[in-house]
């Protein structure tokens, strides 16, 4: 069961990486990067590294995704003058 789930997680990581590279929308790229972090933290947990898994889930999947989205909004607002 754990082997099957790890395989699913690896497929999820690879698919998320492809989406984040080839996506035309920045928002879906950022969210799939968060998805990659989530899968990696699950893999860390199954590889007996709960410390790294907690850090990856809190920073990789939580904070950095949020900060990327905030920065993206900021750039889009500053970049287009006909926003208002």
């Amino acid at each position: 069961m754990i082997t099957l789930f790890s395989t699913l997680l690896v497929i999820l990581i690879v698919a998320g990486g492809f989406v984040s590279i080839f996506s035309k929308k920045l928002l879906s790229s950022v969210i799939s990067m968060g998805l990659v972090s989530l899968g990696v933290s699950g893999l860390f947990f199954f590889l007996q590294a709960p410390d790294v898994a907690i850090t990856e889930a809190a920073i990789g999947a939580g904070l950095s995704t949020a900060i990327f989205i905030i920065a993206m909004k900021k750039i889009q607002k500053g970049g287009t003058s006909d926003d208002e």
Binding site: L12, V19, S28, I54, T55, I70, K77
Partner: protein, 276 residues
């Protein structure tokens, strides 16, 4: 996905992601061992606590130090097994061995790591606060559910973050993840209420004080044990909350520092975005 991607591919991908998350959620109930059935003596940290990784299994069987050809390495030192919750006055005393390496044996390294994070946060705030402020635009306020829900969730998340860094020497986690969890809770508060702003001066003072506390603990070690960041407190019984000497103190300082730092970074980014 790409704009020319057919709709069916997107749907298959979404169904796959949701399916993996659901399977993972239900595996918690079926695959994880229950709390009272876990034998702590057989976990990984049991082998690493002995500080002798290669012969750890042989030591478990024979009760003495052997090399690969089963010749006793040391006859002068009797092998004493380390038992969770019973052994006292060990060299380090932390049940979580990652913590004992990160904070105790390589404490100076961690001080440098904290400094790196401090410099990064200073850079972010220096760049973002140089911008010209404008009057906030009128926006759609978050709903009542979001407002109440984030406030309730914040108290639980904040408590969990504090738990993670206070128990850093016993359970997985520590100062950095605990601080990041607290900062994510504060990010939720930003999402829930328009125009929310934490006490910026309080965050700065808090961060500076906890950073200074780390250095002061190191200097106390220099005075008491003649080495910077040396453990100057008794290590106690392995597995208790009050054990492992100064590791808990340092992780509390790191947790408060990282939490207030990351909250200040989030605050700087969000406030500037809103006032653009």
């Amino acid at each position: 996905m790409m704009s020319d991607t057919p709709e069916i591919v997107k749907k298959v991908f979404a169904i796959f992601v949701v399916g993996v998350l659901i399977i993972g959620f239900f595996m918690v109930f079926t695959q994880m061992p229950k709390g009272n059935e876990v034998n702590v003596n057989n976990t990984v940290s049991r082998f690493y606590v002995m500080k002798d990784v290669d012969q750890a299994t042989q030591m478990l069987d024979k009760g003495t130090y052997f090399n690969k050809d089963m010749v006793p390495l040391r006859n002068d030192v009797p092998y004493t097994p380390i038992t969770f919750g019973k052994s006292e006055n060990l060299e380090d005393g932390a049940a979580n061995v990652v913590t004992s390496i990160v904070v105790d044996y390589r404490g100076f390294d961690t001080l440098g790591e904290v400094t790196v994070l401090f410099l990064a946060a200073s850079g972010v705030m220096l760049v973002l606060h140089g911008e010209k402020r404008k009057v906030p635009k009128k926006k759609i306020a978050p709903s009542e559910i979001m407002y109440v829900g984030t406030r309730i969730a914040f108290s639980v998340i904040f408590l969990f973050g504090i738990y993670v860094f206070i128990h850093g020497h016993l359970t997985p986690g520590g100062g950095f993840p605990g601080g990041a969890i607290i900062a994510s809770g504060i990010l939720g508060l930003f999402l829930g209420r328009q125009g929310y702003s934490p006490n910026k001066a309080g965050l700065t003072v808090f961060e500076s004080l906890s950073g200074m506390a780390y250095a002061i603990i190191g200097i106390i070690g220099l005075v008491a044990e003649k080495s910077f960041l040396a453990n100057f407190l008794p290590t106690g019984t392995i597995g208790n909350l009050f054990s492992a000497g100064f590791i808990a103190l340092i992780y509390i300082a790191i947790g408060m520092k990282v939490g207030s730092e990351l909250s200040a970074v989030t605050n700087a980014m969000i406030v500037d975005t809103e006032e653009d």
